[in-house]
Structure formats: C-alpha cells, structure tokens
C-alpha cells in the first residue's frame, strides 16, 4: 500500500514505521550528497551475507547511456559531492574505468566498493586480468572500500568463500605498495566488517584497533578506517537465517537494539541509489527489494528531479531495523 507521498506502509509483523512513530521520528531526506551507483550484479564471489545475491552467473550490467546520465546528474548538481560505485564487483562492468575517470574530471569524490579478490581472480567469465586496478586506483585517487570480515582466515572464508582471506591479504599488499593506507596519505583504504553470522557487530572503534594491530603485526598491512556494517535480513542472508531457524530471533535482536540516535543518521537521508538500469531508490537494500522511488511515476536517472527527490518520503520496511540497531549501520559504518 502506498500513501500520497509514495511511502510503502508496512503492515507486517516487524513494523519499522510504527517504531519510528513511537519514537517521534520522521526521518525525511536531509540532502543528496552521495550518488551510489550499482553498475553490475556480477561478481567473482558469492558471499553468504550478500544482499545483492551477486555471483559470477549474474549478467546485469549498466549500459553506457545510463552511465552517461549518471555523469550528467553529477555535473549538473554540485551539491552531490560523492559517487559511490558498487555492485557485484563494479570492476566487472565494461564502463567502470570510464566512469571513474569522468567522475574525477567533475571533481567528485570517487569511492569504489572493491572486493580485493577481483585483482587476483580477474573476470570469472572472460578471464580478463584486473591486475591493473591498484595502480589505476592510485592514479585517480579513488577511495577504496573493501570487505574483510575478520583478520583471520576462518571467519573471512566462512562468509566470503574458500581462499578469499589469503587473496585479500595479497591484494591489500598491492594497494599498500601503491601508497594506500598510510595515515597522512590522500589514498584512503577502508575496510568493512560484517559479522560472520546472526549477531551484531562489536564497537567499530574496538574492532578497528584490533584489525590494525593484527594486520600490521601478522602481515605488515595498513589501512585507514574500519566500518562495521550489520547484516541485512534480506536475500541470501535471510535465506540462511530461515534455513537455520533464526530469522525471527535475528529480527527480534535488531528490534530490541533499536537506537533512535542511530535512526537519525541513516544513510538514506543523504544518499540516492541507482540500479544498473537507471532506476532510483533510497538505498541499495531498497534497490534489491525492488522498492523504487515514485512520484506519480517511477523515478529514474532519466527523469531526475532533485527538488522532488528532496521532498520524497523515504520507503521504510522491516529490513531497516538492520540500519538502526545498536551503534547503527550504513555504507560508512556505524552512525552513532
């Protein structure tokens, strides 16, 4: 059911909107600072917690006409300072390099969600090498944001696949060799921690301390920031929860950990998500659930209207409890 302001009202068991109302929260958009573009659903990995259901079998790719439209939006809106390029493995889109180079020409801050192993594995379908990536990122001062569930093989491989931890270490060394991860460097390398199961992340600060200590002492590796992200109870992770008989328990955990301060900082208030086919969403999770932004008609990059988008009512659903639990969760880590 949608109201006049295009918000989906959830009448299910876990009612996020009701929780907001009880806490006197409304959460309208505050700005649009980041355009997060999901340019492919294809990946060389098939991680357990992936809300995108990415794998080497996916074929969805953003076409050049849509990439160019995203660049036009960035060019026409100085207030959108950041482009956050994600996927799948975004490097598997044939227009990836072009998008990075052109976005930098527009003086935008370019972030790439880089899974580390793509540099080692290459394209899983064509075998095309991606070994150029560390140097490419360095040359264009891209902020590299990479998942590393833990500083040990067990948790990492359990979540992301056999062999991923060792490949990730090799890939991090290549990025460090390019200058990434030094404290005073402009070349930012951030790591992302997702819990390896149905539990909440520990404090971002304490995990960052542990990761820095362990990765330096064991492997001589450096990075800048650690971001903790809560696992979203959708798609592949939800399937796992249901298989283990854990879904309701996990949802109760998220709801019991609802934090109004974290809710105020949710990323959908300052970010717009673009799908591979140019549709607009409040966030990547809404994108994967098909919860497109509507204003009379479905909104896409081709009928982009920033004034209308700033007045929209963000679409919430039960999965939003993932972003508001504990210290909060976003693509930039904890929100508290």
């Amino acid at each position: 059911m949608r109201d006049n302001n295009s918000a989906i009202i959830q009448n299910g068991k876990y009612n996020f909107q009701e929780k907001l109302t009880k806490n006197s929260l409304s959460l309208p958009p505050s700005s649009i600072e980041t355009l997060q573009v999901n340019i492919t659903l294809k990946c060389n990995q098939a991680c357990l917690h992936c809300h995108v259901d990415s794998s080497p079998k996916r074929t969805e790719q953003m076409e050049k006409i849509t990439v160019d439209k995203c660049l036009e939006i960035l060019s026409n809106h100085k207030e959108i300072k950041n482009i956050d390029i994600t996927g799948g493995a975004p490097e598997l889109n044939p227009h990836f390099d072009y998008l990075v180079i052109e976005a930098k020409k527009l003086d935008k801050h370019v972030m790439v969600r880089h899974n580390l192993t793509i540099t080692i594995d290459g394209d899983p379908t064509t075998g095309e090498s991606k070994k150029y990536l560390p140097e490419f990122y360095s040359k264009h001062s891209v902020e590299v944001i990479s998942s590393l569930p833990y500083y040990q093989e067990y948790f990492t491989d359990k979540q992301r696949g056999r062999g991923v931890f060792n490949k990730s270490i090799d890939s991090l060394k290549l990025l460090n060799d390019q200058g990434y991860g030094n404290e005073n460097s402009d070349l930012k390398l951030d790591l992302v921690y997702n819990p390896a199961g149905a539990f909440l992340p520990a404090s971002q600060q304490s995990l960052e301390h542990d990761f820095k200590k362990e990765l330096w002492e064991k492997f001589g590796l450096k990075f800048n920031n650690l971001y903790t992200i809560t696992n979203m109870p959708i798609h592949r992770f939800r399937e796992q929860l249901e298989r283990l008989g854990n879904y309701d328990e996990y949802m109760e955990k998220l709801i019991n950990a609802f934090n109004p301060t974290a809710a105020n900082g949710v990323m959908c208030r300052s970010l717009l998500s673009v799908s591979y086919d140019g549709k607009l969403f409040d966030c990547d999770f809404n994108q994967m659930l098909g919860m497109q932004i509507y204003n009379i008609e479905p909104m896409t990059v081709f009928n982009f209207d920033i004034d209308l988008l700033l007045k929209r009512k963000i679409c919430f659903d039960s999965h939003c409890f993932g972003c508001t639990a504990g210290n909060g969760s976003s693509c930039g880590g904890a929100t508290v």
Partner: protein, 110 residues
C-alpha cells in the same frame, strides 16, 4: 517439553514478578559488572563470563555469552581458549585436593 528451553532465556526478567525491588538491585549490579568497559574491556568480561558459564554448565549463560562474546568482537579461537581455561581450572581444582589425600596417606603411615 524439556527442563531447559532456549526461549526461556528471554524471560529472565520475569523472575522479578515477585520481589521486583530485589531483581532491580540484581540487574543494576549485573549490568554494571558485566556490560561496561572498565579496567577490563567488555570483551574480556564476556570471555570470563563464557568460561564461568561452562564451568557451572548453565545453558542459559552459555547461549547469552556465546552471543555476547561474538558481539564484543571475540572469535571462536579466543572463545574456545576461554572454555579450556575453565576446564583446566576444574581439573586443577580436583587434582590439588590430592594433596589432602597425600597428607592422610602420610598420617596413616603409608
């Protein structure tokens, strides 16, 4: 139905149905002792509690502190070492009383 049901862990606070003032005193003390970063971090406290949970074989506590350990950033290696600390302490506590046996043997002229 079993004597122990996992869902009953969530009903712990209901023990305060009678004498709620005493239960409040308990929870204030418990939260202050276990759920704060002090001279020991929350993680260290969770691992201690995990060890004690196994020592006393409380299934409620084992469940609660397995989760608490994970959510404080501990990993299965650390958690398993904590259990071994508890197990070796239990073994040691048994064995050290063997000194009493030796004392009695000696007194008996053995």
């Amino acid at each position: 139905m079993n004597y122990y049901e996992s869902k009953d862990l969530g009903r712990f606070a209901e023990v305060g149905k009678f004498k709620p003032d005493l239960m409040k005193k308990f929870f204030d003390y418990y939260n202050a002792a276990t759920n704060t970063d002090g001279a020991l971090s929350k993680r260290e406290k969770a691992l201690i509690a995990l060890a004690i949970s196994h020592f006393k074989q409380c299934p409620y506590c084992i469940e609660a502190y397995t989760t608490a350990s994970l959510e404080s950033g501990a990993n299965p290696d650390q958690m398993t070492e904590a259990i071994h600390v508890a197990a070796s302490m239990a073994a040691g506590m048994n064995l050290v009383h063997g000194v009493q046996m030796l004392n009695i043997l000696e007194k008996s002229g053995v």
